[in-house]
Each structure stands twice: as C-alpha cells, then as structure tokens.
Symmetry: D3
Subunit: 134 residues, 6 copies
C-alpha cells in the first residue's frame, strides 16, 4: 500500500460545553496542525498516489472556512462538541468529497483510504481513517 | 477508525546482557519518549475516543514506577532482556489493564486497540499494537 | 555561557482587534508551545543552571491562569493586543519575578538572562530575551 | 504486532519530466529523510523485532548508491519517474531483499512486513508498506 | 530583544565543484527548510516585531526564483560554491533588502537584526545572522 | 555571523548523588541528542564555516567513549555531578581541543565560537557556548 501525506494548519477558538471536559468547557482555542494521508494500492501512470500540489490545494481550501474562526459560532457545528476527534472526521468528509468529485484529479476518485490527523499540542493528537468510497 | 495519541517520557538505566547486543550489553541508559494511541470505531457520546486528561494521567501513573530507575534492579524485569520492543509490550499491558478496569472512564472499556511507541533516539523507535480485549 | 531550556504549553482564545491583523481580528485561538531558557555564566555548586524540576514547576504555575481561557476576557490583558510577541514578554516578566523571589531556588536569583519562546504553529514563533535583573 | 523503525537520509538531484509535475519537471533536488519500519508478530529470542544496528547498517548500504547522485543519470532509473512514492517502493524492494537474504540476521527472514517512508519536506512525505514475502 | 521567526522551504539541485566537498562535488540536491528570524528591541504600535503574514510573503517571494531549480544553471550563482552557508547569506541579503525597502511594512525598516537558518538534513543546518542596516 | 550545526547522540547511565536532584539521585539514564554549532565571522575559501563531514566525524569520535557507558564508572567523571549542563561543557572542551588541533581542518583553528546543546527529553535541554580560543 502506498501513501502520500501533506500538512497544513489552522488557528481556531471553541468551547466544549459538557462537564466531561473540565476546564476545556471554557471558551479557549487551539492551533491544529493537520496532516492528511492518501492511500492507494497501485501508483497512477505518473507514479504517484495523488498530485501533492493538488492535495495541498484541496487541504488549504478545506481549512480556509475554519481558520481564524470561533467554531462555536459556525452554523455547521451548531449543537456539536467540536473535539479534535470530531474535527478529524469533519475534515475527512470534506477531503473525501473533494476526492470523489475530481478535485484531486481523475486519479483521486480511485484512492482507497484517507487518514486525517490533527495535532493539538506537542503531547496530544487525534486521527480518523476510513475508506474513501461513498 | 478514530484514534487519540498522548505522550510522556521516562529516563532509565538498563543493560542488555546478551552478546547479540554488542556495546549495549554494558550498563547504559535511555530517555524513552512514550506515545500511546487509543483506537475506537465510533466516538463516545462526548465525541471522543477517550478523555485525553485521563489518558495522560494513566500514562503518567504507568511510567512513574520506571522513571529514574535501573531496570536491571526491578523485580518485574528479572531475567528479562528489557529491549525497547519488550518495554512497549510491558507498557501496553499496563495501559490495557487500566482501560479494562475503568481507569480511563467507562468508555475506556470498549476501546478496540492500543498502540504504544517508545522512541529511544532521534533515529530509532519501536512499537507494539494490539487489541485491548482480555 | 550555560543555558537550560524547559517546555510547557497552553491553549487559549483571543482576538487581535486592529485592522493590521486582517483575519486574526476575529476571535480565534492558538496552542502556544512555550520554551523558557535560563542563562548563567557559571554553574552552581550542583553543576546546574537551575533545577529543571523547579523550572518546569514555575513555568506550569505561570501558564495555569492563562490555559483554557479567552485572553480577551482577562483583566490583565484589557486594552492590550495579545500578540505572540506580547505574550512572550508577559511570560518573561512572570518567570523573572519568580526567579528573583527565590521560586527557582536561591541560585535562581543570580541567573543572568531568560528567553521565552512561544511557537504558535509549525511555521511561526516569537521570543523575548532579556536580563533578569530588575 | 511489534515494529522497529530506523532513520537515515540522502541528498539527490532528479527531474520529473511529465507535464503533470509542473515546476518539478525541472532538474531540482531533495533531501529525503528515510524511515524504515520492520514488523513482526512475535519477538525473537532476544526480545527484538530486528537488530537495530543491523537495520541501520542495511539502510545505510541501501541508500549509499543513491546519495549525492543525479537520479536521472542512474541506469536503474532510466525511463522512470522517480517520484517520492516510486523511491519508497525502490528502497522497500532492496530492504526486503536484504531481509530475505539474511543481511538482517537469521530472524530477519521471518519478518512479516516492512514500511518505508520518505519525507521530502516538512509538509509532505510518502510511504510504501507491504509484506516481505517473496 | 524580541524576535519573530517564520518558515518556508525549497527543493533545489546543485553541485559543489571543489575537491574539498568529496561526494558532494557531484550534481545532487537538497530540500532546504528555511527559517528567518527578525529581531527588534521594542515592539511596534501593534505589539509585533513584524507582520507575520508579510514576513511569510516576503520569504515566499525570495525563495520562489530558486525553488525547483538547478542552482548551477542560475546566472546569479555563476562561479560560486553554493554551500548551505552561502545560501543563508544570499537569502539574508534579499530579506534585508526587502525590509529596508518597506516590503515588510514601514516598521520593517527599523528592525535591528535578521537571522536566516537553512536545515539541509535532520542532522545538519547552517545560519547567517547580521544587522539589517545597510 | 555564520554557523553550522551538526547532530549525533549517545545513550548513557548515570546518577546525580546530591539531595538537590530528588529521584535523579538514583542510577538512571538518558539519551542525549547532541547538537554542536560552530561559529565564524567570515566563510572560508570554500564558502563554509567548517567541513560538515569533518564536524560529524569529530563529534562522533568525541561521543564514542561515552556511548553505552555508565558515567559513574568512568575515571574522567569521578567525583563530578554529570548533569546535562556539565556534559555540555565536557563535550565543548573536547570539540574545542579538536578544532584547535586541526582535526576540523586548517580552517577549524580560526573558528570564533562553539555551542554544544544536549537535549535530554522532549521537554528539557541544556547548552554551553563559548569562544574557542585557548
């Protein structure tokens, strides 16, 4: 199995309003360093998993509406606990949509899996990995 | 599949008394940077894999009896070659026990897998990954 | 010149309400990885610059009131643009106070300089370095 | 499943002569930081996956013919697009050959899988993982 | 003294045609991760050393003509040994010019110092630091 | 001012037998990642601060007698508290001797300064910087 993994980042505010989260119930924030890995069994005709430039471009466009935002105020997150894990899945769904729609080039439609990792500090990170099919 | 991974560290002395290990047969030591990843198919009601605070707490308590110790002198390692790989499994077993006993919260009992990675230098690391079931 | 540098981190929300900052005028947030370096010309009787444990403890206590907070709502930052640079100096002043007051041990009073570095993303960081005297 | 992962690096020139690659069609170059992970279900008699020293040695010998070279001029790459993904598989094949031939010691013949990761910048990397059997 | 440091990267080919360089006399290449630190005694009215966005923009424009190039073929490097150290100074001169010309904003003209660091592998890097005045 | 910085590492056991060090009074150990920076005002005829290969070689030879050792048992450290800071100075003195003796090449004799940094964990490191003259 081959993979290619690319990186971007976003700085957001949010709160986690459930007693489970202790001090993180407060409005606070995070820098999320976001790594997206694309998996493919066999390389394309150009010997790639996916065009790295296109992958970086799709990732940048995916994160742009979230960067420098308070996630608590965004309609798509209303009523959601925007944990690091949840955000991994949110980014995964958008990247998988982009892949299936051809935004990663024609070969992007035939990727097998995607993994999204969000590092929230030097000590903690989360990921979601799943098949691209939809 | 979702994951959450947390980090801690320990500084220990040990020797590897088998000719296989060449100069590492000597009493020497290591800083092990320890990463523990927890895996779960679906998030809990709070949109998490596991409480990161509880995970860091359990990891800290797991490493505390080893930190600043000479592993050669600890009864639990008597007659064992305490390689990095062996220590990964040792930490894994303790973390899995803690998960099954509820030390990670009730949802910790239903984690699917755990992976423990020990980095011994900037050039080498080992890991053990397995199901939590016991 | 000798130095010792220790690390901690904090997750905060804030806004930078000046048109100079473009999208960062919005309420957003950051993970700041905080490194504090202590400098001394000659080592103490114990061959140290400063007790690393005490340094980590003082750093943790310095960051605790800021962690999981919205800096815009804290009285000490009222009317201030809480840029990364500004926060470096804010942390510096508290650590220098702690050193002069003996919180780093008696030898902490005779440190020559301190440098505080806050990394806000994988691509950008700021620092403040100055003499401890005061 | 246990793993051990070791690191080395190489500095090479190459071009990617296909319009797909945009500016990377030019003769340019890269530092590839190369991580090779070895996987085994059960540890050997010495409690290892593989001898780390032997693994580092095999990796060094694998990269030596490529280091400080223009890949476009090497006969083994004639007519190939030497993408990062392609090079992962190239290194994988050589390491797997070495394992099967006993260059990693007798236990190296019974490894289950190998994963080769090449990081080309701080923002992008590729990998190939597969069974060692051949 | 305050600083702000930003990062970018470039992938280039070159050779070092002097027997001093051993195998690096060959045409080979490198990924250079480029960090540029800006120093200022006192913060500006907006509590910054320099606008991070402007700094990243100037750095990107400085590296663009070098990225994906064979430095041996560029007229500005004719007859030069393009060592990592030399390239640090080359980038420094262009960034310092940009600062003095106002490309970093009006406050960029009054920076005190700049430091450029190029990391060529995980094991080696070079830097040049100097006053901006000129 | 130009610099070049190179990296190596060593794994050692030691104890710090003074009540000041709390649990680190025990026999324990560390992986020290060792970075050595060489400083020079003007580049040599080959546009370098120092030959990186020679620098790596000198660093490797400096650390070799310490690697896989119990520092408590080495005669050169008898009666010394082998703190990270102390070891920085110890490595500095050996590297400076090598430079003055020509082991870094003729140009190594005219370096201005050297800085040695030992990272003991992901959270703590020490350094010593001084002039090479002697």
């Amino acid at each position: 199995m081959f993979s290619v993994e690319v990186r971007n980042r976003m700085m957001i505010a949010h709160s986690l309003p459930d007693p489970f989260f202790g001090p993180a119930q407060n409005l606070h924030g995070a820098t999320f360093v976001v790594d997206v890995a694309f998996f493919r069994e066999e390389l394309t005709e150009q010997n790639v998993v996916v065009d790295i430039g296109a992958a970086l471009d799709v990732l940048g466009k995916t994160l742009a509406p979230l960067g420098y935002q308070n996630l608590d105020a965004l309609p798509q997150f209303k009523g959601q606990l925007t944990t690091t894990e949840f955000l991994c899945k949110y980014v995964f769904d958008r990247i998988a949509d982009a892949a299936r729609s051809g935004a990663l080039g024609g070969d992007g439609k035939t990727l097998s899996r995607i993994r999204v990792t969000l590092s929230e500090t030097d000590l903690a990170r989360a990921s979601y990995e799943g098949p691209i099919g939809g």
